[in-house]
Symmetry: D2
Subunit: 357 residues, 4 copies
């Protein structure tokens, strides 16, 4: 976080996609119940302290590693790169940025080969790997599907105090911005960036950071997301539902946010759009547009803006958190000092719950 | 409202189902845009001051009559009865109750024959008819369907101060209770009653009344309801969405509440269950169960509890409203004096927006 | 079958709905795998030789009884009646018709009380009961749902040689015709009849009979039916899919026909329409309309027309089968002597597979 | 077609994705009704002889150009490349292969800039362009959506006699094989190849060629595809449905094949999987596996195997068609000389319509 250099002149690694997250959880048994029994992620491997999970259409070893540890936190945001040489490039790139790096030719976790982990300039633990064990792609195994089956890891979302700074850094790493939220004075509240041809592989959300905002898995259709809500209700776990389901303005995807037993936030997500052309048009949203985060204008619960998961240094200790100095999205849109409109220029308040806060 | 007799010894009419509502609206052009252009109800007939609308699977002349008038209010909750003789029975029944009645052999509105309108003991304008003009059932006309097509009128919902009194009255009229919301002290907050084999033809919701809480139309599937939200967003009319979409606890149906240009509330509803057996089990919900009105525990916006449409006397003047003396559902479940639980006995508050009100 | 009297002057029982079928199967283990493991019907009770199954929204003891026996056949088409007295009425009605009847006050199967079974004038084993054990309605138990969950028993379908005769009989028993298939010369090929407010509780399909054509269960949505196909494919049981999925012309429902290990045909069905008004319009289809049985004009496989399950006499022996003397629907629509059109008067054949047979 | 050189030593252009097809149609009015009124493609521009259409989520000028001409044929399979220099690379690449090329700096059709068209070694008219006019991405315009809205161009499918030869050529051009159909003796019947991260941008289907097998558009969900079938039925155009809807084995996508007024085949397609990793596992299907083309084992209509659209030379005349010398997929799987199994080694025939042909 003390580095002021955000981009290096060296070529960045050719990143394919967000590939897996390593999360530290405080009670693996509870987490297993949540991710396996309720959400239906598939267990590739497990031991007493670790659980390796993947979505139905994945062919690499895992998309989520849950490791029992003393605090709830994220140990790695892992990206797959195109070639083994791109791991070298990643190592060199972050060393050139003055970042702490650690290389392990046998990987940091089971199923992954040669990999480098870094504490990036924003303070996030990023991993880059290419070698990975292939496992069965369960796409055709319909006897294993549940009504809410998760089929793909879709994206990460990170909280960081200075969004333009974060965007400059991640663009240097080869990501492209697809959408953002701004105000008329030029403040940027959040930005979505991608490597694969979807709206994002990760997003930079303005707030005290570095923290993890959420990890998102995709379903095939919208009813699959509704089925997850129905099941949480049936299990009397509806208080795990934090926000949604709803339609995003940003990304145009259908979404749901839930919280795991440690409070880690998971998004369930479906149906954004193809972004693979280099001139894919940027979509900028006005922070006061009440449909930007929920196309139906439904309120964003305050916890969604303010809470997030701590991230770990390479030595396993929590990375300190720095406050945001720019205005917060919640403050400018809700409550006495904020406002949101349905139609630009329209000052009606209406009965939306957000207006009554 | 002054009558104290709620049931008559005469046989009640054999009611088939809720059939149509006559609503007074203050700007027919705006209402036409809402119900026809946005919601896609089919126009059976119209003139300068009146619009006759039906859902895609209906074969009787209309399910909704919109008539331009000085105030937004409901002129009639109309039920179809089994035979012409049941119109006579209805007239006699309400006359025996001391209610004001009006019989018109040519009907009160276009498309309907011999009918009787009454001011019922709760103050609601009810109509009973059998003769009706048949029109094309558009069920197979898929070239006319939209993503959010409404296929059936499902039910009415009425606000009345004393729910047990209202239930006694409507049971006398031949309705059966399918579900209700109660508390441990015996207060009844709402009850659902049916003639056709669904969860309800109408419901009695505790509150200042007589007022109309909502009229509900059914879609085929859940995605149809989501499509209505998406369209309202696209038209920058998302502020018409009052509550939902969500899954009801009561009825197990998927729902959405929207408000028309006059504030009349419309529910879009799909997938409740068969209730046609005489011993269909009553489902009673604890008023403090946070999943009773939304299975996912999402908050109920205050306007949903407090607002409703006035109803008209037979002479077209608004019926006076009487306050509820029993505790209100909103008061006992939200805020300093109320509480709701996800798991009975559990006192966690969590991040649900309702908890932050 | 020798009776020529089809209707009695006595009042028929007040039938609520089709309630369950008792099927004889030749290998209960295989049938259990099919109905429980694959289709996900819920086991209410079981013993070595019998399995009692129900759909998710049912509150009576079962919708399907599978009993191991020497031949694959149907032992009873069971209807629930409104009151205990209606069981008496049923017994008297069929005795007046000269039919063989058997009354058991403790029921023929577990969970059912006083019931009468009859060999009806068409040769079918019908049961009428009112008393039944209530069990949990699993509608809200979303943790038990599968992607293809069956939520209701919807209807039976019977094969009988003389459809007009069968319709006269069943109308006498209080059923109403909702749709039928005819030709210009007056031959009736099939008719759909209902007690509850759907398109049918049973249908009379022209062919060698008495035989059972199929029993149908409902899902909530169309994707649930597709999920059953996907699962059968994953289990390498796709050869259990006989016809569909598709959209019916008749009933407007979405459908799939599969065959159990004994060849008993099951339909999975969703989204027909309300038929509860006494003047519900009859929909008559031309037998040559290629969209009558599949709205998309997809071919009906020959086995669907020609195969069916034997039915049992009250003594457990198979009822003899009588051939149809009227023209068969398959013969008049497919092959050298038949024809089907997409647009009336249009003689184009096109590439439909049915045209290449 | 006379060239024997299939790959050049020059670098191929960096192809982003299949972008649009130019089709010649014989009656533009009829085609407009089909593609615009029925399928709901959006009109970007049109004149007396030409129609420029795009899907809802597209931001480039068009995905389909319909041009009225004397014969029904395909004038261009157009791919977008990453940079203007890639158009140069494409021109050089095909010139090095000895192919006829034509460069137009102002494009061949409206909305497209500098482009090169080639007659490729397989005889297909391919176009490569980068410059294109941006238009509104209609993704958020839900007021324009229909129940069957097409949201993206997904892929092309080409018929060519020698599949391994075609694969060698297209791999040289930078495509990767994702799935194929083979037999034990090594005959390849079809192969799917991709640039973007889906199962394919085009496929090589064995048969008399060069011909166009189909062009495919994606919907969001499966019910959207069913809605297209329902609408075709309602319009009495069900004979435009050639095959499906169904689930593919290959690609795992949900599909429908329809035929336009000229017989051009369109696939409607949804839900394949991510293929963007370089080591994405190849899925090879046995040609005798009855679930390879339809996961539910439903029959493939003969026309689907045998019919296709002619393609045009750069001078606008039809390219001659060469027969396939390898065994045909239809011959080895259907009829007296072919066989298909549900379970490998199982010789049951069952009631599948394909078995009765």
């Amino acid at each position: 976080m003390t580095t002021t250099t955000l981009t290096a002149t060296l070529p960045p690694p050719d990143i394919l996609r967000c590939a897996y997250m390593e999360m530290q959880v405080t009670d693996l048994k509870k987490s297993r119940e949540f991710y396996v029994d309720i959400l239906g992620l598939h267990v590739t491997a497990e031991d007493d302290k670790t659980l390796y999970l993947r979505a139905m259409e994945e062919f690499i070893h895992h998309n989520l590693v849950l490791r029992e540890g003393p605090v709830a936190a994220v140990a790695a945001f892992a990206y797959r790169v195109r070639s083994p040489q791109d791991v070298d490039r990643a190592e060199a790139y972050f060393q050139a940025l003055g970042c702490k790096t650690e290389r392990r030719t046998n990987g940091f976790v089971r199923g992954i080969g040669d990999a480098v982990r870094v504490e990036d300039p924003l303070g996030f633990p990023y991993e880059f790997f290419c070698e990975v064990q292939h496992v069965e792609r369960l796409a055709w195994r319909y006897e294993l599907y549940t009504p809410g089956s998760l089929v793909r890891l879709d994206h990460f979302n990170q909280i960081t105090p200075d969004v333009p700074l974060a965007v400059a850094y991640i663009q240097g790493l080869g990501f492209r911005v697809t959408e953002d939220i701004r105000d008329a004075s030029g403040v940027v509240y959040a930005a979505w960036v991608r490597r694969k041809s979807t709206v994002h592989d990760t997003a930079m959300t303005g707030g005290a950071g570095p923290r993890m905002h959420h990890i998102a898995f995709a379903t095939h259709e919208k009813h699959n997301i509704l089925a997850i809500c129905d099941k949480l209700g049936a299990l009397r776990r509806s208080d795990a539902i934090e926000r949604g389901p709803g339609r995003h303005g940003v990304s145009n995807a259908f979404y749901l946010y839930i919280r795991d037993p440690d409070g880690h936030r998971i998004e369930i997500y479906t149906q954004d759009y193809y972004t693979g052309d280099p001139d894919n048009p940027l979509v900028s949203w006005d922070v006061h547009d009440n449909q930007r985060r929920d196309w139906w204008g439904n309120p964003v619960v305050p916890s969604w803006y303010s809470e997030g998961s701590r991230v770990l240094r390479l030595d396993g200790t929590p990375q300190p958190v720095v406050e945001r100095s720019d205005p917060s999205e919640m403050a400018v849109t809700i409550g006495a000092d904020g406002f949101s409109y349905t139609r630009k220029g329209d000052t009606d308040q209406g009965f939306k719950l957000g207006n009554t806060l």
